[in-house]
């Protein structure tokens, strides 16, 4: 029997290639292509009054210089609003090149195409753009005050306002024996993949067709958007996603201006054109996330059980809203975590500012929601003098209450209904892992040594694997090679391995015979993309379904050839044999030959399928009416709703009594993503997620000045953690299968990031003995908080209401 692959810590299939310099990222392609570079706005808000490009043309090697006036057709129109929502009353998107106004530093104004990037940047330096600066709106406070507007025709700077309520919050709050209010703040960070964006367009003038390579999280999305913008038939556009050096959300947005302009220029010039984003461009012209102001009012009984939860928050969406209000919707819904709120009302305002746009970054609104909920849980525990884990436990949804419907609408327009999960079991594992009950003794011992330590906790639930669908295509070649294709893209999640593990099991073939292609519209034209921790859930189940189709066909053909019933056959290691009689067998590759009736033999094995070989029924056509040639099949997985993973984290931190330096001594994770296809890869996702969470909690922030200049747009100043800042992560797992999909999978990609800011805030609060209400937090800020507390021990805007 073949060893079952799902559940094994299989080494990654993609690694030998990536480890030896044989990866192919987009900038590795297109030697000889022309290079694009962009003149970008130095102003956060300004009118463009004149563009003088004459000097640029003087340079040898410059092939084209374009402004908005040069754009034609739909390329000159605003970029699409990708996810419209009825609550988004004022969606606004930019142009590929600014028409007459710029709304953030970094917005593209002029495109240069030249022999190489050096010349293109030289030419950019020779272009003069005249601006009439306008007052900039920076920060949520200024956006809310609306003394100045980002877009003249958007009153109050509000792009969207959405309110959901379950139960009667006002009544429940009024009668609650305890009430607290919390004012919370969380700042911007960004995905910061090590590879920025990049686009390479190959225009075939003879064929009138375009092949576009893009470092994207959705090749089908880019294909549809570019075809629409360029007015091309879909059949003449193919999009290939090569190796991608990390995404984390920013590359799901599409089409980026460059994804439209580069192929547009390639067609116009009849030349291959490429663009590779540099790091500064990535800081000022891609996307950020996280920034919110939150007001929480909570009513609870004397045991700490929630009776009413009333949340209002303001979400900074930056200058434009191409990705709609997905991020604040997720904050609003996933804020509830593993808890029953009693009654719940949430209202948010999505606000324009003259800053880089805000679109999903790993966690996608959940870190903010988790932060609000978990800060609230700690505040309740402190108010009642109860153990923080106990308060959480008393509010958990219990396993026998699953499926649990919160009565809210989730980000996919479908009910927020948890499918499974065992929160008490997760908490018990976490408490054991971190030594929750022994911490008081540890704290006392540390105190005797003059050290200050704290223990923090955070719980989350994550809706993963949202629809609408993904597809799988499985094909067995006559060599026995199994080709698998799915349309979503890969940015390091190991899809070439986990999808091969699934197909190896479902089809009954050896892992090394399975070869997976992702993100190539030539191989799978229907797909959605890689986001929302959906890769394994969606494409995993899709390729499993496709493998079943192929398996059934293979068994049917083998049954004919062996003259037995298909029910008596099994497939293992690529050989179909009669159960209990392994001598009677046929190779899958031979079945592949027989599946395709031939006139011409292309090699010796193919002769078996030619017209004079073997016997046949002369009354039947070679390919039956309900059949197709070839041993291949396709299927799609489309779930009714998301499947909900969950996890709980705990951290021990030490804060220096003098310098306020913050060190994470231990970091513990209990994670439940249902069935794990490859535990090694799941743990890797958790480690990486926690590291990004630590960055967001302690080091990373986007520092804008009041004029809208991003002051730390480099890796020197924006502090992505090195190995020296990231703690060793201790993990434990629960596997509560999802009842919603055949493989029982839940997503794992984003989980590690979600609760980290909440956990670190909780731990610092525990160490210091005063509330932490703003994250990230630096040693200087903690030091300042200590100083303020010493002079004014009661926080001004907080307390029983």
């Amino acid at each position: 029997m073949t060893t079952r692959q799902v559940g094994e810590r299989v080494q990654r299939r993609e690694d030998p290639r990536l480890l030896t310099g044989n990866g192919r990222y987009v900038d590795d392609l297109g030697r000889g292509a022309l290079h694009a570079a962009f003149v970008r706005s130095p102003h956060a808000h300004a009118r463009v009054t004149d563009v003088d490009i004459a000097d640029a043309w003087e340079l040898d090697g410059v092939e084209a210089v374009y402004t908005w006036d040069d754009l034609d057709g739909r390329v000159a129109e605003p970029l699409p609003v990708l996810i419209p929502h009825p609550a988004m009353t004022h969606p606004r998107t930019g142009f590929c090149l600014a028409r007459d106004e710029v709304n953030h530093v970094g917005e593209a104004v002029v495109m240069v195409v030249a022999r190489d990037r050096y010349v293109a940047e030289d030419a950019c330096g020779r272009i003069s753009v005249a601006y009439e600066p306008l007052p900039a709106v920076v920060g949520l406070e200024n956006a809310r005050s609306a003394a100045r507007l980002v877009h003249d025709d958007v009153p109050g700077n509000v792009s969207a306002n959405l309110r959901q309520e379950v139960g009667d919050v006002d009544t429940a709050m009024a009668s609650a024996p305890n009430r607290l209010t919390l004012d919370l703040e969380i700042e911007r960070s960004a995905c910061m993949p090590m590879e920025g964006k990049g686009v390479y367009a190959r225009w075939d003038a003879d064929d009138g067709s375009l092949r576009l390579y893009s470092s994207t999280q959705t090749s089908t999305g880019v294909r549809a958007a570019v075809a629409a913008k360029l007015g091309m038939p879909l059949a003449k556009v193919e999009v290939v996603t090569p190796d991608v050096g990390g995404g984390f959300g920013v590359k799901i947005v599409h089409p980026w201006p460059e994804e439209v302009l580069v192929p547009w220029a390639a067609r116009r010039l009849g030349r291959d054109v490429k663009w590779t984003e540099d790091r500064r461009e990535h800081f000022v012209s891609s996307a950020h996330e996280r920034g919110q102001l939150q007001e929480v009012e909570v009513g609870f009984d004397d045991d700490g059980r929630l009776l009413a939860l009333d949340v209002r928050f303001w979400h900074d969406n930056g200058a434009y809203t191409p990705y709609g209000i997905i991020v604040p919707i997720i904050t609003a819904t996933q804020l509830l975590g593993p808890y029953k709120p009693g009654s719940y009302r949430v209202e948010f305002w999505s606000m324009y500012t003259n800053t880089v746009l805000v679109t999903p970054y790993r966690g996608a609104g959940r870190p903010q929601g988790c932060y609000a909920m978990e800060r609230t849980m700690d505040a309740i525990a402190a108010h009642l003098g109860l153990d923080r884990a106990e308060v959480r436990s008393r509010n958990f949804i219990q396993p026998d209450e699953m499926p649990y419907d919160h009565g809210l609408m989730f980000q996919d327009g479908r009910p927020l209904k948890y499918d499974s999960g065992d929160f008490p079991a997760s908490l018990a594992k976490l408490k054991a892992l971190v030594g929750w009950d022994d911490f008081a003794a540890y704290r006392e011992q540390a105190a005797r040594e003059g050290r200050r330590v704290g223990l923090g906790i955070g719980c989350y639930v994550e809706g993963t694997g949202v629809g609408p669908y993904e597809g799988g295509h499985v094909q067995v070649e006559t060599s026995g090679r199994v080709n698998v294709a799915t349309g979503l893209t890969t940015q390091g999640q190991g899809h070439q391995t986990v999808l091969a593990q699934i197909v190896a099991d479902e089809l009954g073939v050896r892992l090394e015979d399975v070869h997976v292609t992702t993100g190539d519209t030539r191989r799978m034209a229907y797909a959605v993309g890689t986001f929302a921790s959906r890769g394994a859930v969606m494409s995993g189940n899709a390729v499993a379904l496709a493998a079943k189709v192929v398996r059934e066909k293979a068994l049917r053909i083998a049954a004919d050839a062996l003259e037995v019933s298909a029910d008596d056959l099994e497939i293992a290691d690529g050989v179909i044999s009669v159960k209990g009689a392994p001598g009677t067998s046929i190779d899958l590759r031979t079945v592949a030959v027989l599946s395709n009736p031939l006139r011409y033999a292309f090699d010796a094995s193919a002769a078996a399928a030619t017209q004079f070989a073997g016997t046949f029924d002369p009354d039947k056509p070679p390919v039956a009416d309900d059949d197709e040639p070839g041993l291949e099949g396709q299927d799609f997985y489309s779930p009714t709703q998301a499947t909900f993973a969950n996890g709980m984290h705990a951290a021990v931190v030490e804060t220096d009594p003098v310098t306020a330096e913050i060190r994470i001594l231990r970091y513990c994770v209990v994670h439940d993503c249902g069935v794990m296809v490859n535990p090694m890869i799941v743990e890797g996702q958790v480690h990486g997620g926690v590291a990004q969470g630590v960055g967001g909690a302690l080091y990373e922030r986007m520092v804008y000045d009041e004029g809208g200049q991003l002051l730390n747009a480099s890796f020197m100043d924006f502090l992505v953690p090195y190995a020296s800042e990231v703690p060793h992560v201790e993990t434990d797992h629960l596997e509560t299968p999802s009842p919603l999909n055949p493989l029982g999978l839940k997503g794992a990609g984003e989980a590690g990031t979600i609760p980290v800011s909440a956990v670190i805030a909780s731990a610092i609060e525990d160490a210091e003995g005063f509330p932490i209400r703003s994250m990230p937090i630096s040693p200087a800020e903690l030091w300042e908080l200590r100083r303020t507390r010493a002079t004014d021990p009661v926080p001004a805007q907080e307390g029983p209401s």
């Binding site: 030896t20 050096g245 890797g684 590291a691």
Partner: protein
């Protein structure tokens, strides 16, 4: 009328991955661009172009150096080793490459060549590091995917493989 580009092509002779190469490049051309786009050695990746991320780390006369902070012409007469020189055959991984595969020390793989070159040079000097020393050794390179934990494991495992192969 086009201005003639003032860029003078300067001859460069150097050794790359053990092979003598002669080429020419303008004075301002970065070593990273020269390796990637002129010599076609695209395994050296460019993550920030300001010397912080370490993705472009190559060995110059055996010592790790950021290829984005060097001009190609300054590599004149030097011996450069890129990831392709550490091991270019997916079926014949170097000890560090093998350890990365076994330890799941890479995800997207973009920063990986810079780590491999850095660690390869480190283990030449420090063949038996502790976990703490291993973490310190990789603390000049950024990785956004792995959280570094498995890279630390890979450093230790690579030291073992070197011994198993009789290389240390």
């Amino acid at each position: 009328m086009s201005e003639q580009s003032a860029e003078q092509q300067l001859p460069i002779t150097l050794r790359v991955n053990g092979v003598h190469r002669s080429a020419s490049a303008p004075a301002r051309r970065l070593l990273s661009d020269f390796l990637r786009h002129d010599l076609g050695l695209t395994g050296t990746h460019v993550g920030c172009e300001h010397g912080v991320c370490g993705a472009c780390t190559v060995l110059v006369d055996g010592e790790p150096a950021r290829a984005c902070l060097m001009f190609a012409v300054t590599a004149q007469a030097h011996d450069i080793t890129t990831i392709e020189g550490i091991g270019h055959d997916p079926a014949a991984l170097s000890p560090v490459q093998q350890a990365f595969a076994e330890s799941h020390a890479l995800q997207c793989g973009f920063c990986t060549p810079g780590f491999i070159t850095t660690i390869t040079a480190y283990l030449d000097e420090h063949p038996d590091p502790t976990a703490e020393e291993a973490r310190e050794a990789i603390s000049g390179n950024l990785c956004r995917c792995t959280g570094y934990q498995n890279i630390v494991t890979a450093v230790l495992r690579a030291a073992e493989i070197r011994r198993e192969r009789g290389l240390a």
